[in-house]
Amino acid sequence: MMRLSNEDMARRVAQDIPDGAYVNLGIGMPTQVANFVSADRQVIYHSENGILGVGPAPEPDKIDPDLINAGKQYVTLIPGGCYFDNSESFAMMRGGHLDIAVLGAFQVSATGDLANWATLSQTLPPAVGGAMDLAVGARQLFVLMRHNAKDNAPKILEKCVYPLTGAGVVKRIYTDLAVIDVTDEGLRVRELYGDNTLEEVQALTGAKLLPPLQEPSAH
């Protein structure tokens, strides 16, 4: 089977970020998406700590210690960006002003439930951050994650086992095997990478997958 690298997964999501979009990229793999958005598109990245227009990492001698992204990395501001406080930042997120949020996940359910903030493990104290606000607020919530956990357990399930971040919030799932839409009918495969078949991907998935829709004829 064809399995995309993390980099190629981020590249694939980047193709679906349109020109002019306001986008929040979650901590970790989602942050990489920005590296692969086509240079002919202007995308405005939001960071929950209070930035619109997040730019690339600064030169080492140009670091502003206050100017970090949500992952606590030093960043810059692009021309046309601006700053605001946390309550306004989350008003943007919760109020449906972001076109797209891309988040990682532990599990996604057939009805678009997202679990990405806690496992069932009791060894770590909990922490939630801004994930729940993004989950309910972004106009389109994309999940970017490997199709299976390290032990090969499926991460796409009929019902999440881990505590939910949000219920019925995920719009599309990008994995290393496929792109899958969450629809009213259920999980519909949108794209299979390489020669991956629906049956192969289904075997690695804990929820029923629907086949891709036929492309409508062009006339």
């Binding site: 020109d19 405005i44 008003a91 449906g96 002003h97 607020g137």
Partner: protein, 227 residues
């Protein structure tokens, strides 16, 4: 590439439909998008719901929409002021629905819509006529009224300067309802005195981030017509 600048006031309001809910910024004569209102009047969409602090005086601003019979309902804190003849005339004839909202509740309900909240518990108006029929709740011994989010199809606002990405700064007390309304409408249109390139405003000084603004239009030379 992002460019939110509209080439005319007319095109900036062209998609306002009959029955639209329209927020209009301003307080008294301060910070009102008078040219957008005039474009809306000429556009002629009817059956509008207008959300604004005041209702216009003489033949100006919102008063001109009332006079032309374009408004079905007004959501307002202080519709009656010296010279608000069209509001008073239509209200008395029963031709204009009024939802009276305390001023701070008006801005808070608008903010709630922009911030994705369903509603807020405010102490304002608790125990008064304006709380009748509304849910109330005692929290820590104090009475509050539930006020729900107030959304709009369009917000017409006024700012001093925009950049091409819709970031806005204002002039003195001309801010008033403009920033909060910008956040609460499906389509926000800003009338501004001048437009600069993206990057032309200091990012520390931006009051309304461009994410809240869909269209920016420069004020045109004032036409002193007799309308």
């Amino acid at each position: 590439m992002i460019n939110k600048v509209c080439d005319s006031l007319k095109s900036a309001v062209a998609d306002v439909h009959d029955g639209a809910v329209v927020m209009i910024g301003g307080f008294g004569n301060s910070g009102i998008p008078l040219q957008l209102i005039e474009a809306l009047r000429q556009h002629g969409a009817r059956d509008l719901t207008i959300i604004s602090n005041n209702s216009g005086v003489r033949e100006e601003g919102i008063a001109s929409l009332l006079r032309d019979g374009l408004v079905r309902k007004i959501v307002c804190s202080f519709p009656r002021s010296a010279g608000s003849v069209w509001f008073e005339r239509l209200y008395e004839k029963g031709e204009l629905e009024l939802e009276l909202v305390p001023q701070g509740t008006l801005s808070e309900r608008i903010r709630a819509a922009g911030a994705g909240l369903g509603g807020v518990y405010t102490p304002t108006a608790y125990g008064t006529l304006l709380a009748e029929g509304k849910d109330t709740r005692i929290i820590d011994g104090k009475g509050y009224v539930l006020e729900t989010a107030l959304h709009a199809d369009f917000a017409f606002i006024k700012a001093l300067t925009a950049d091409t990405w819709g970031n806005l700064i204002y002039n003195t007390a001309g801010r008033n309802f403009n920033p909060v309304m910008a956040s609460a409408a499906r389509i926000t249109v800003a009338e501004v005195a001048s437009i600069v390139e993206a990057g032309g405003l200091n990012p520390e000084h931006v009051v309304t981030p461009g994410i809240f603004v869909n269209r920016v239009v420069a004020q045109e030379e004032q036409q002193h017509d007799a309308a």
